[in-house]
Symmetry: C2
Subunit: 151 residues, 2 copies
Amino acid sequence: MTAYTTTSLKAELNERGWRLTPQRETILQIFQNLPKGNHLSAEDLYHLLESQGETISLSTIYRTLKLMARMGILRELELAEGHKHYEINQPSPYHHHHLICVRCNKTIEFKNDSILRMGTKTAKKEGYHLLDCQLIIHAVCPACQRALLPI
Amino acid sequence: MTAYTTTSLKAELNERGWRLTPQRETILQIFQNLPKGNHLSAEDLYHLLESQGETISLSTIYRTLKLMARMGILRELELAEGHKHYEINQPSPYHHHHLICVRCNKTIEFKNDSILRMGTKTAKKEGYHLLDCQLIIHAVCPACQRALLPI
DNA sequence: TTTTTAATTGTGTACCATTATCAATAAAGT
DNA sequence: ACTTTATTGATAATGGTACACAATTAAAAA
């Protein structure tokens, strides 16, 4: 959960025998410049790049998202149904969690520093190296409660 | 997060214009009799039923799992890669969370009552009706740290 | 700087969990 | 019992993600 630069990304990749490619650099920058609270699916990222005139194949996008999630650079979010979203994995003051309506998928972000503290403590206690820690609350939003819609 | 019986399940279903079927009753019982800490995928459940001589179609299993998750009877877990797992959604003393190794998928359960309290408080504050609340910690387990395996 | 090595990319294809379709069936209320 | 309509089961369809492999290219060695 540290802030990455191109240089530190390259260093960490090379340390493991991997390479910094223009594609990986571009994708890191996209996520770093994304407004707070925004998150992208693989498809989202593909089209965002497309709209900027750059093209990175979907395969590479999927591979890079997974790689960066497993390095702890990105958080993998399971928000709506069907596909994953990714956002930059930021340390304490920006660290947040999600309250999700299971019916309409309306999602609210909220902060709670003690959750990250608990996660850190639990991981440490078990000897795990922490990458990410997220509280997911599944619930029914006020509008959907009123709507009496079928589940 | 209350304990369901056949009767209360029927009541809650009928209240919404839905029906209690033998399939739904069977699936509820399976989960209620599952040893603590066990969770099943749709496929798992299908084969478990098969081994007991009962057969419920995969379609119905998928539909029922989703229905029960959205009613708050089951928790939908995103543990390993690729498919969801389900477990009974139990109140406080049994309520637990998951620490997952992103490399080998080794998963540790842990308890922490304050997390459920926080989730309840947050949902209430936003006017959401709480169904489930789970802390997911993504990390690298000790064995995988030593292994220096490729990500 | 050139060469060498092997990680990475892009294209196309395959996989597989989950959802949709729809006729047949069976709960629930009358 | 009868009617209504939610539910089931079989099958097909969907779609996100992973895989295979030849062509590139980053990184280290010469």
